[in-house]
């Protein structure tokens, strides 16, 4: 069918304009229905609903139906399974960065490289949704930073300054501890929260070893042998050893962590900024007391933020209506689409669309984050630079953060985990 259409178009003398004008009415008149698979992550559904509503208003002949899937590993499996069996929806949301490589984008996705709307998408994002010179996705939501959410009321009360170095951070902790507050909130019941000290330290790793990501991918750099990379584990251990965490760190979950932070029980919560909307919803009165700073390193001069790129929106090759799907992606990558997202969930980070600025009334935590982006003191997290991320990291960091395992052996164990991942990916040199 496709082939025939293509031949017909060529027979008309390659008149692209004509083809478009033929195609346009085809969906301008007929009712078009698209399906869109989104995960059930924080505010993902809200964003999707807002985008669909805005788009449908503009294009009354198009209706887009949302299908929800779980997030995390289970969700990854669903996406892979459906792509592999040719049963994907017309549009879908999926991770950017290393995980994108696992769905074989060249085989399964429609490239967006030549789409005019890609000019609106910032280079920083394009790089994490590209393979072999082709770009595949548009950003879904805002960029995030990994660091420390802190309670500025406690800081004010104790007269503390936002730390620029790890030592300063530890001094603050000591002061906070003496004042009877919990210096660092940890919530290992949800083990993913234990990884932040390692993952968000990557800006600092890159300061020390600018080629770490590349060498790591090539099986040259190791956590166990890189002093800079091992620091993440060491710092996690140091916090535990100093007794700066809440006593029930291993029994609490993420929501309770946010609650402790908002209620001024704890001063610091190592977290990624996607927690901010949740704070806004659940603690509207306290959210103004929550600030944010990057995970400090050794040197105040090279202080910067490790960032997480938003997920991408992709079109599978099996889509029922590529034209409309592309048009919708163009809408997401437009200022209009971006504003629909901001209306839906607020501004909790820079959107990676040209011309899409943030309103002035953002919450303090977001305001604290923006300068890093504006001043260029940002580096993407390792998972956006390398396809390898060991799956057992969160269990290892729980062990380190609970004092069962020393940082050196943790780094070694993680290297082992990483090797397994690399071998499973079939990477060269492993």
């Amino acid at each position: 069918m496709m082939l025939k259409k293509l031949n017909a178009t060529l027979a008309m003398g390659g008149a692209t304009a004509l083809a478009l004008s033929l195609a346009a009415p085809a969906y301008a008149q007929d009712q078009v229905e698209l399906t869109w698979l989104v995960d059930n992550g924080p505010s993902t559904v809200d964003i999707a609903e807002a985008l669909v509503a805005a788009y449908e208003e503009k294009n009354p002949n198009v209706s887009i139906e949302l299908e929800i899937r779980p997030g995390g590993g289970e969700g990854d499996n669903i996406v892979k399974t459906r792509l592999a069996t040719g049963e994907m929806t017309d549009i879908f949301v999926y991770n950017s960065g290393s995980l994108l490589q696992a769905i074989a984008p060249q085989q399964t996705l429609m490239p967006l490289t030549d789409q005019p709307f890609m000019d609106n998408v910032q280079e920083a994002f394009q790089s994490v949704v590209s393979t072999d010179g082709e770009v595949f996705g548009v950003p879904y939501g805002a960029a995030q930073g990994g660091g420390i959410l802190y309670n500025s009321a406690i800081y004010e009360e104790l007269g503390l300054e936002v730390p620029q170095t790890w030592d300063a951070f530890m001094e603050n902790n000591s002061a906070i501890d003496e004042a009877g507050y919990i210096p660092v909130i940890q919530t290992f019941r949800e083990s993913w929260t234990s990884q932040i000290f390692v993952l968000a330290d990557f800006y600092n790793v890159l300061q020390a070893e600018p080629d770490f990501a590349e060498r790591y991918t090539n099986n040259e750099a190791k956590y166990a042998t890189s002093e800079a990379a091992q620091k993440g584990f060491e710092r996690l251990a140091a916090i535990h050893e100093a007794g700066y965490t809440n006593e029930d760190f291993n029994a609490l979950g993420y929501q309770e962590g946010l609650e402790m932070l908002a209620n001024k029980e704890g001063a610091h919560y190592p977290m990624i900024t996607f927690a901010i909307p949740s704070l806004e919803t659940n603690y509207p009165d306290q959210v103004d007391d929550i600030g944010f700073f990057a995970l400090p390193g050794d040197d105040a001069d090279s202080n910067g933020l490790t960032t997480w790129m938003p997920a991408g929106v992709y079109v599978p090759q099996t889509t029922s209506n590529p034209e409309v799907a592309m048009d919708f992606l163009g809408f997401i990558a437009s200022v209009e689409g971006c504003e629909a997202m901001i209306d839906a969930v607020g501004a909790n980070g820079p959107y990676l669309i040209e011309g899409c600025g943030l309103p002035d009334d953002v919450v303090p935590a977001v305001r604290d984050m923006l300068p890093y982006f504006e001043e260029g003191r940002v580096e993407p997290a390792l998972e956006f630079l390398s396809p390898i991320k060991g799956p057992a990291l969160e269990q290892i960091t729980v062990e380190v953060g609970s004092g069962f395992r020393d940082p050196a052996s943790a780094a070694e164990l993680y290297d082992q985990d990483v090797r397994k991942q690399a071998q499973q990916l079939g990477l060269e040199g492993w």
């Binding site: 059930n40 992550g41 299908e67 779980p70 069996t85 049963e87 929501q255 949740s278 659940n282």
Partner: protein
């Protein structure tokens, strides 16, 4: 004294079950009626304010009344699958228990394999696509039948062992053909275990979420367990609504249980064997 003997046991049993089984249940109810902030504290506390109707309405309305669609889908899938399962696996259990030949151990092994080996999702989908039953309700029904077959067969087979063979022989001499022997003589005698299979499989299939997720994608095809994802994600969970949802999707199988529980009456097969 005899009063204590008679009711003491009951009282003790009730007391223990209350503590062990009902406390968690009460917790679920409490969670379901709290407001989001209190539920986020995740503790076992009396609700500061009751949001029964509010939470209920919110859960029902979520995602365009997804729960209602899901109820319908799940009910259709569960009822058909369970009906097929009962008949087919009772037949298998019957023949396997009665007929012992050289291939019996192999069949046993393959049946056990159904309990021991997780199904392979991708090859199954490919196969279902070729058969044209992927993404269809009846396709999922067949999957549920296939996946739950082993459990039911084992249950049936062990119970059929308690039915004396002489009953089969009496029926054969009375002129029963294999099918009438099974449906008129054996199956009615299996009532207690049939009820058990119905209850257990209804729960298993109604509560299944992995298989519908893979084999019956599509929003219009949602099943009840998938509605839990409306309120629970990897990072953020609206616990009050989640628990209200849990409560709501627990009720249908509970009703099934209450109904069939009454069918389990004592002394069903009395007189089948010796006087």
């Amino acid at each position: 004294m005899s009063w204590v003997k008679k009711y003491g046991l009951s009282a003790a049993a009730i007391a223990i079950s209350l503590v062990v089984f009902v406390v968690p249940f009460i917790f679920i109810i409490f969670m379901a009626v709290k407001d989001q902030q209190q539920s986020a504290q995740m503790d076992f506390s009396w609700p500061t304010s009751f949001h029964v109707v509010e939470n209920f309405v919110q859960v029902i309305q979520a995602r365009d009344f997804m729960l209602i669609t899901a109820y319908i889908n799940s009910t259709v899938i569960t009822v058909t699958s369970v009906a097929l399962l009962v008949v087919l696996s009772a037949l298998v259990g019957f023949v396997l228990q009665r007929r012992v030949t050289w291939w019996t151990p192999w069949v046993d092994f393959f049946i056990l394999a159904g309990l021991m080996m997780p199904p392979a999702v991708v090859p199954t989908i490919t196969l279902m696509q070729q058969l044209g039953i992927f993404k269809t309700i009846h396709g999922l029904v067949l999957i549920e039948v296939a996946y739950n077959m082993s459990f039911s067969v084992i249950l049936f087979r062990n119970f059929i062992a308690t039915i004396p063979r002489e009953l089969d022989e009496a029926a054969i001499i009375d002129g029963a053909r294999p099918l009438s022997l099974f449906f008129r003589v054996i199956l009615p005698m299996l009532k207690p275990v049939t009820v058990t299979v119905i209850v257990v499989q209804t729960v298993a299939i109604f509560n299944d979420f992995v298989n519908p997720l893979y084999y019956l994608p599509g929003r219009e095809n949602a099943t009840v367990q998938l509605t839990l994802y409306n309120f629970q994600s990897q990072f953020v969970t609206e616990y009050n609504l989640l628990f209200m949802n849990i409560l709501l999707i627990t009720i249908p199988p509970l009703v099934v249980f209450l109904f069939f529980n009454r069918q389990i009456v004592a002394g069903m097969s009395a007189g089948a064997i010796k006087g």
